[in-house]
């Protein structure tokens, strides 16, 4: 079972890494070192890490702006993330775009845009390609509660269901679309009802309980992998910070925030792991040290990276001519293909860390079994 394969300490580590990268990004923002807005997914870690850890090589994520946990879980590079925030010339977007709008098709990460919901039709196209080309891979397409109100969300769910596309839709319902609470957004209790309308299985779960996420999303993935078409899982969570760091979120009732802070996904998981004797003080110390060193390295790397050259701003509006590889098929990284390398730099797409970040050295035998 997928759940048994998931390494619980690795999940905990990735949740912590996600939290600390974001904490550090917020500090950089307050210091005026991030040029644009900062959007975090604090409180979403159980959902983003728990869902993405269940994927395999060749699978795709189509992450949104609060899905740092998915990026990092799928091998996204903290250095690349920091270069994005600090608008460096060697960021994956070359400083042309900010936030988490980064990706690498060869590693199954699709860059998103700010129009939330618009990535879901894209997810359909990726899954359609997998279906047409008979790949045995799947797509994980998350979105927020806000995006579920857009036309493209409904068009994508419907099309995916009609075409039986291999997509797991994840709704991260964090209670607010900017300042707008869910009761002003939709008149239903559970967004998984949307699934029913399109003829796919749907489930609403506690998105702050990583074990529940692993179980439910694991089940959803199994359904999709078996060729039964898409599924939807609504993970109910809470946006602990404002929409962006410029937003004080004083429209959120303090008692509501308090209540959710008690359900912090990392603290809850920590309690479980401690109780099960999986997480010891020594291991926790090592994890924290590793997280700290990765984040420090990423910030240092980004700060030492060059700013983009203004003279390049109108370069690379169009892709050059030449053969295009179909991603996920043998030889797709052959440099003769236009999309094998980032032609703007002549180098591999640099969103993914060269060495995937793991804590395997801390993992006692059998610890992942449950």
């Amino acid at each position: 079972m997928q759940l048994e394969r998931a390494n619980l300490l690795q999940i905990y580590y990735l949740m912590r890494l996600t939290r600390v990268v974001e904490d550090r990004t917020r500090t950089l923002f307050l210091q005026g070192r991030v040029v644009g807005g900062v959007y975090t997914g604090q409180g979403h870690e159980a959902t983003t890490v728990g869902a993405a850890i269940l994927l395999r090589d060749g699978d795709f994520i189509v992450p949104q702006h609060r899905d740092l946990g998915m990026h990092l879980t799928r091998g996204g590079s903290p250095r690349a993330v920091m270069c994005q925030w600090l608008a460096r010339g060697n960021a994956p977007t070359l400083g042309r775009d900010g936030t988490l709008h980064i990706g690498d098709m060869h590693h199954g990460i699709v860059p998103s845009i700010s129009m939330l919901g618009e990535s879901l039709p894209l997810a359909c196209g990726i899954a359609l390609t997998m279906k047409m080309r008979k790949h045995d891979t799947i797509v994980m397409a998350p979105c927020g509660d806000g995006a579920t109100n857009t036309g493209p969300f409904h068009e994508a769910l419907n099309f995916a269901s009609v075409q039986k596309l291999p997509i797991v839709f994840i709704i991260e319902n964090n209670g607010y679309a900017y300042s707008t609470p869910t009761y002003k957004q939709f008149a239903i209790e559970n967004l998984s009802n949307r699934a029913k309308a399109y003829g796919m299985p749907g489930e609403s779960i506690d998105g702050n309980d990583v074990l529940q996420v692993l179980e439910s999303v694991g089940r959803a993935i199994e359904h999709v992998r078996s060729g039964n078409g898409p599924t939807l899982v609504e993970c109910k969570t809470f946006r602990v910070r404002g929409h962006s760091e410029a937003d004080k979120a004083d429209y959120v009732p303090p008692e509501l925030r308090e209540e959710w802070l008690k359900k912090d996904p990392i603290k809850r998981f920590e309690a479980y792991l401690t109780q099960e004797n999986i997480l010891t003080e020594a291991i926790q110390g090592e994890i924290e040290a590793k997280v700290k060193s990765i984040v420090e390295d990423a910030v240092r790397f980004a700060e030492q990276s060059p700013a983009p050259d203004g003279a390049t701003v109108a370069d690379y509006v169009f892709a050059p001519d030449g053969p295009i590889a179909i991603i996920g098929e043998p030889g797709a990284d052959d440099p003769r293909y236009v999309n094998a390398l980032d032609r703007r730099t002549g180098k591999p797409y640099n969103t993914v860390a060269e060495e995937p970040s793991t804590v395997s050295q801390f993992t006692p035998e059998e610890v992942g079994k449950r």
């Binding site: 775009d97 098709m105 196209g125 990726i126 068009e155 419907n158 509006v317 050059p320 179909i326």
Partner: protein, 327 residues
């Protein structure tokens, strides 16, 4: 070899490209079993199956967005808009998603969005659009507009093989026009994007135009020759983005007078950009005002007398050309 229509040439281009390259596929409303609202894709599903000729729900954001998703995977989707007017329902996928993809991520999005555009068929405000100016304005999208049967096939093949999002605007009035029937080469050919063509050479004035208006301009040019002894050059732009600046400047430098004709409305149209470009680059060469003939700044109408009043035609072009020639 038999002469084919403009519409059949489009179908041939899709069929031949789908045979040549397995990455090419077609998706859109009613394109499969029904063969498309205008029958452009008739017979394609029978040959390639319903996985490569996909009947979609009525959902343009899903159609175009899926095309973008497939394109970044390395496929070469052709997304059909049943009428090009409906492209607005998928606007964001073009102007925010597809157009910026390569520039910001280095990931190419090789795809074609195509559909019947233009008026003259009593289509009214929602089935007659000439949407080129909206997309011409957006960096990262190529825009092509074939006016002949040969170009309809060659430009579509080039668009499918291009590694960028290409908007291919076919004109529905030309689909089955008997005078556009043409025998096409047996062998594979393309018409490169970014190359204009001189449809009629002349020395007294240049008319810059594209699409169905090419034929109205040629008619007017003939009359000007017969009745006014004027030798008018007609340049068919074919590709609006990239624009063949070299060909445009070369012609106008020689004739010193320029008339710009398009079916789309006047303000902020392609003609506005052409006029600005000519004013900037050829100020010292011009012997008369840069003149435009275009539809008035009003929505496209339905009733025949309104449509006639609305659309540019040979007569209106003639009047404008005579006024310009008098300078």
């Amino acid at each position: 070899m038999t002469a084919v229509t403009y519409l059949e040439a489009i179908g041939q281009a899709i069929r031949e490209e789908m045979r040549r390259d397995e990455a090419v596929f077609l998706l859109g409303e009613d394109v499969g079993t029904y063969g498309g609202a205008f029958k452009v894709s008739a017979g394609l599903m029978e040959e390639f199956g319903s996985e490569r000729v996909i009947d979609t729900p009525m959902a343009e954001a899903a159609i175009i967005g899926s095309a973008v998703g497939a394109a970044i995977m390395g496929m070469r989707p052709i997304a059909e808009m049943q009428f090009i007017d409906f492209i607005t329902c998928g606007f964001d996928q073009i102007v925010n998603m597809a157009s910026k993809f390569y520039w910001r991520s280095g990931i190419p999005a090789p795809m074609v969005i195509r559909g019947p555009s233009g008026g003259g068929v009593k289509g009214g405000p929602f089935h007659s659009a000439s949407p080129e100016a909206w997309f011409f304005h957006v960096p990262g999208i190529k825009v092509v507009v074939p006016s002949t049967t040969y170009d309809a096939k060659g430009l579509l093949k080039a668009a499918i093989r291009d590694n960028n999002p290409v908007l291919y605007l076919e004109h529905k009035l030309l689909y089955r026009l008997p005078e556009l029937r043409e025998e096409l080469p047996e062998e594979d050919y393309t018409v490169p994007l970014g190359k204009a063509i001189t449809r009629r050479a002349g020395e007294d004035m240049t008319i810059l135009t594209y699409g169905a208006m090419v034929h109205q301009c040629l008619k007017a040019a003939q009359t000007l020759e017969q009745e006014d002894d004027l030798d008018v050059e007609v340049v068919d732009l074919r590709s609006l983005m990239p624009l063949d600046r070299e060909a445009i400047l070369e012609s106008v430098k020689r004739t010193n007078k320029v008339l710009i004709v398009h079916e789309d409305t006047l303000t902020g149209g392609i003609g506005a950009e052409l006029a600005a470009m000519l004013a900037e680059d050829l100020f010292e060469y011009l012997d008369g005002p840069i003149t435009r003939v275009a539809a008035p700044d009003a929505p496209f109408p339905y009733a025949p007398p309104l449509e006639e009043a609305y659309l540019p035609n040979a007569e209106k072009i003639l009047a404008a050309a005579r006024k310009l020639a008098a300078y």
